[in-house]
C-alpha cells in the first residue's frame, strides 16, 4: 500500500476466508453478525411478548415503532401499516450497524458495515426499488407513471435524473458520514491515545443515530412522493 501511517485504504477490505470463487470480506462477516444479533433479539422479544404486562424491552420497541408510525403519518398522511416493515427494518439495521463502529473502536477488528460503500449502495437500491413498488401497489401503475410528468411534461428527464441522483446521494451520505467518523477516530487515536478520543466516540454515537434517523426519514419522504401527491390530485378531482 502506498500510503503513510499504516492506514489501509477505506475502500478496500480484508478478505477473511473464501467460499469457492467468492471471497468473503470482513464487512460481510460483520453484516451477518449484525443480522444474526438482530434476529436473535427479535426472537427474544417475540418470546417475551406479553399483552397485559409488557417488559422493558417490549416497551422500548413499541415506543420506537409508534414513534416511527407517527413520523410516517405526519409525512405521508396515510396509515403507517404497509410502510412500517421496510422503514423500521432499515432504521434498526442501520442503527445497529453504526453502533458496531462504537465497539470497533475498542477492538480494531470489526468494521461497521455502513462504512462500506457496497452496503450503503445495497440499502439505497432497496429504497430506489421500493418507491415504484409502493407507488404501483397503492395508486396503480398509470397513476405512478403520472408522477414523473407531474408539474408539466418538460419535467420528465429531471424527475428521472432526480430519482437516480437521490439514490446515489442516499448511499454516499451514509457511507461518508460513518467512514469520516472512523477515519477521524483513527487519526486522533494515533496522535493522542488517552481521553481525547472519548468525546469523538460520543460524537460518533450521535452521528450514527442521526444518520439512521435521516435514512429512515428520507425513505419515508421518497415513498411519500410517489404515494401522497397522487392522492391529493384525486381529492382535487373529487372536489370538482
Amino acid at each position: 500500500m502506498a500510503n503513510s501511517g499504516g492506514m489501509t485504504s477505506p475502500v478496500e477490505d480484508v478478505i477473511v476466508f473464501q467460499v469457492g470463487p467468492i471471497p468473503v470480506t470482513r464487512v460481510t462477516v460483520v453484516t451477518w453478525g449484525v443480522m444474526a444479533a438482530l434476529i436473535l433479539f427479535a426472537v427474544f422479544i417475540r418470546w417475551k411478548l406479553r399483552k397485559k404486562t409488557p417488559g422493558s424491552a417490549q416497551q422500548v420497541i413499541e415506543g420506537m415503532l409508534s414513534w416511527l408510525g407517527d413520523e410516517i403519518r405526519g409525512i405521508i398522511g396515510r396509515e403507517p401499516g404497509p410502510f412500517i416493515p421496510l422503514v423500521a427494518s432499515l432504521f434498526i439495521f442501520i442503527l445497529a450497524s453504526n453502533f458496531v463502529a462504537f465497539i470497533s473502536s475498542f477492538f480494531e477488528v470489526l468494521k461497521p458495515p455502513t462504512a462500506d460503500i457496497k452496503t450503503t449502495a445495497a440499502l439505497a437500491t432497496v429504497v430506489f426499488l421500493s418507491v415504484p413498488f409502493y407507488g404501483i401497489a397503492m395508486t396503480g401503475a398509470l397513476n405512478y407513471l403520472k408522477t414523473y410528468v407531474r408539474p408539466i411534461w418538460i419535467m420528465l428527464p429531471f424527475n428521472i435524473i432526480s430519482d437516480l441522483s437521490r439514490t446515489l446521494a442516499l448511499a454516499v451520505r451514509l457511507f461518508g458520514n460513518i467512514l469520516s467518523g472512523e477515519i477521524l477516530f483513527g487519526v486522533i487515536l494515533s496522535l493522542v491515545p488517552f481521553f481525547l478520543p472519548l468525546p469523538l466516540m460520543f460524537l460518533a454515537l450521535i452521528t450514527g443515530t442521526i444518520q439512521a434517523y435521516i435514512f429512515a426519514i428520507l425513505t419515508i419522504v421518497y415513498i411519500g412522493g410517489a404515494v401522497k401527491v397522487v392522492e391529493k390530485h384525486e381529492t382535487e378531482e373529487k372536489a370538482k
Binding site: 502506498a2 500510503n3 485504504s9 477505506p10 475502500v11 478496500e12 413520523e71 405526519g74 446521494a169 454516499v172 451520505r173 461518508g176 458520514n177 467512514l179 469520516s180 442521526i210 444518520q211 434517523y213 435521516i214 426519514i217 428520507l218 419522504v221
Partner: protein, 87 residues
C-alpha cells in the same frame, strides 16, 4: 514532485475549500431554524425534522468532497504512479 504528492496536496485542498460552503450553509440553516423555533415553539417538532433532513442534504456536498479526496489518496494517486512507472 511526484504525482502522489500532487494527489495528496490536491486532496487536502479539496477538503479545505469544499467544507467552506457546507459550513456556511449549515450555519444559516441552524440559525433560521432556531429563530423559527423561538417564534413558534408549537411547531418545533416539524421544524426539527425538516432541519435534520435539510442539514443532511447540505452536508452531502462536503461528503462528496471527502469522497473525491479519498479517491485521490487511495485510488488515483497510486494509479498515476503505476501509469508513470509503466510508460
Amino acid at each position: 514532485m511526484t504525482t502522489e504528492m500532487l494527489a495528496i496536496i490536491v486532496a487536502g485542498g479539496t477538503m479545505a475549500i469544499g467544507s467552506i460552503g457546507p459550513a456556511l450553509g449549515e450555519a444559516r440553516t441552524a440559525a433560521a431554524a432556531m429563530e423559527a423555533m423561538a417564534r413558534q415553539p408549537d411547531l418545533s417538532g416539524t421544524i426539527t425534522r425538516t432541519l435534520f433532513v435539510s442539514l443532511a442534504m447540505i452536508e452531502s456536498t462536503a461528503i462528496y468532497c471527502l469522497l473525491v479526496s479519498m479517491l485521490l489518496l487511495f485510488k488515483v494517486g497510486p494509479l498515476f504512479e503505476k501509469a508513470v512507472a509503466a510508460s
